[in-house]
């Protein structure tokens, strides 16, 4: 993957400096970005943040880029893709939720904690200093752990997140803070619900049919019984015939 600097990422983050957000995977945020790469942002108001990106994006559209925008309200998510000559240049992946993972669920309240504890890295735009916000060290570890759980089966390379976490929680203090944060905001009821659902599927067709029959009216119930009795008798007849 080659590097590109056709889009000045600082121009976008400068415009969004009054927004409440964090950039995930901060080391990827640099003046040069991977062509076709993306940046993940978790924010309080995805619509307002998206608007800031689009407002700055107009200057690039004037230079020949295209912005392709997709809003997923139900997932509290928006994508803004910048294309040049029909090729993806860069994607802004904007979330207003921490609950987009399927295998592991964080509590909704974690978003506020994440944004409240954010830290900043110094940046500059047109000679003016400003800050880009990233998760605190503990939240960064937590998010890496969540990403590992989510993707480990499909992407074994995500093991690097576990190794990173292990290297960072060398002190007892960091270890405790990390585990405490994880314990506070991991939605264990989500895992239980998923397990419960798989148990419900266990019994099979007969109990479900029984349930349905009990809701039907008496006459219909009787008709259904007679029909299934006929079917049972027929199946038995077939079985006997095949053996003889």
């Amino acid at each position: 993957m080659s590097y590109s600097d056709k889009l000045n990422l600082d121009s976008f983050f400068w415009a969004a400096r009054d927004q409440d957000y964090v950039v995930i995977k901060a080391p990827d945020f640099s003046p040069d970005y991977h062509e076709g790469g993306d940046i993940d942002i978790i924010c309080k108001d995805k619509n307002e943040f998206s608007r800031k990106i689009i407002e700055v994006g107009n200057q690039y559209v004037d230079e020949g880029f295209e912005m392709r925008v997709s809003i997923k309200e139900e997932m509290e998510r928006a994508y803004i893709d910048f294309y040049k000559d029909n090729k993806l240049e860069f994607r802004f992946d904007i979330y207003a939720s921490v609950q987009s993972f399927k295998k592991i669920r964080l509590k909704k309240e974690y978003l506020d904690t994440l944004l409240k504890n954010k830290t900043k890295i110094a940046r500059g735009y047109n000679g003016i200093k400003y800050s880009v916000y990233i998760p605190s060290e503990i939240d960064d570890l937590l998010l890496k752990y969540v990403e590992y759980v989510e993707w480990a089966e499909e992407r074994p390379d995500k093991i690097r997140h576990l190794k990173f976490i292990a290297s960072k929680i060398s002190s007892d203090k960091t270890k405790l803070s990390f585990l405490d944060r994880l314990h506070s905001f991991l939605d264990s009821s989500y895992v239980e619900q998923k397990e419960g659902k798989s148990k419900e599927k266990g019994p099979g067709l007969k109990p479900r049919l029984k349930q349905r029959a009990s809701r039907m009216k008496k006459g219909l119930k009787l008709k259904l019984y007679k029909l299934t009795k006929k079917l049972r008798v027929y199946n038995l007849y077939k079985k006997i015939k095949s053996k003889t």
Binding site: I54, E55, G57, V61, E66, V69, I71, E73
Partner: protein, 296 residues
């Protein structure tokens, strides 16, 4: 105080001065016209009764006041406006005490003073040319009477949460922002009359909007006169368009997301969903390309 919707009805006896009354509403800095409808109720008496059914005053009180309406032109004009500066107060007395915006009340009285028929002593009669309400419940009720099932919710609809789009555009979640040649943009123009009309796709130069700017104001004014209030229900006027063209700047602060909305009806050919006036201005200013939002 938060903005609120209000409505005005110009009765049949006020139709001859409807244009001036609408101009008065337009010139009021606290009011922004959203829609203008012309309506012909099948029975004026029943319409009045239904329109006032949510009013603070009982119908028996209004019956005498509205007797004159049955003798007037049966057509009415309904204006839905946004009151940007409601100043609600407890007004009236006794059984008719109610909360009303004093600005709307003051405005109504000014219109009545100016346009109500005069008696032989040149004093204003109570044959009101205008009815107005700032109660959103009543506005909602009036819209439903006119056939808008969603009532006021129809105007509050935001088709897209990120970029500006008027309520009449169907909701959309996906769109592209790109620069295209103005020659690939087309507009739907209403041809025919109210009894027999159709939408015709035409190039920007053939729209009454462009022709108005290019020195033929008659075609735009005729277009509005024929269809305004019926098939064209937004607040249009030649003066407003002239002013817009004079001060026009596209996508400049604070309107960076107020794109002309289009739909691609053929590969690389776009039909305007919202923004015919703006695209006509850009064409008149001899722009070759324009940044649009293409709705998917």
């Amino acid at each position: 105080m938060k903005e609120k919707y209000c409505s005005f009805i110009i009765w049949g006896n006020g139709l001859k001065c409807a244009r001036e009354i609408i101009d008065e509403i337009r010139n009021n800095k606290n009011l922004e016209i959203k829609k203008i409808f012309t309506h012909r109720p099948r029975n004026v008496g029943k319409f009045v009764k239904r329109a006032y059914s949510k009013d603070y005053a009982p119908y028996r009180h209004l019956k005498a006041k509205t007797k004159y309406l049955k003798k007037s032109d049966p057509r009415i004009i309904i204006i839905i406006a946004l009151n940007k500066n409601p100043k609600e107060k407890l007004l009236g007395g006794g059984d008719f005490q109610h909360i009303e915006c004093e600005l709307v009340k003051k405005f109504k009285e000014e219109i009545r003073d100016k346009f109500n028929p005069k008696d032989k002593n040149d004093c204003r009669t109570e044959e009101h040319v205008i009815h107005g309400t700032d109660s959103e419940v009543q506005v909602d009720h009036l819209l439903k009477l006119l056939g808008f099932e969603e009532g006021l919710e129809y105007f509050k609809k935001e088709p897209n949460p990120v970029i500006s789009a008027p309520h009449h555009v169907p909701s959309f979640d996906n769109f592209e922002i790109k620069k295209v040649n103005l020659s690939s943009v087309f507009c739907n123009i209403i041809k025919g009359d109210l009894e027999n009309f159709s939408l015709e796709k035409c190039s920007i130069e053939n729209t009454p909007h462009y022709r108005f700017l290019a020195g033929d104001p008659g075609s735009y004014e005729e277009y509005l006169a024929k269809l305004g209030g019926y098939l064209l229900t937004d607040d249009y006027s030649a003066e407003k368009f002239k002013k817009m063209a004079k001060d026009f700047s596209y996508l400049k602060k604070p309107y960076e997301t107020l794109y002309v909305l289009v739909k691609e009806f053929q590969p690389n050919k776009y039909l305007v969903l919202d923004g015919v006036h703006r695209i006509a201005i850009l064409k008149f200013l001899k722009k070759k390309e324009v940044i649009l939002a293409v709705v998917k």
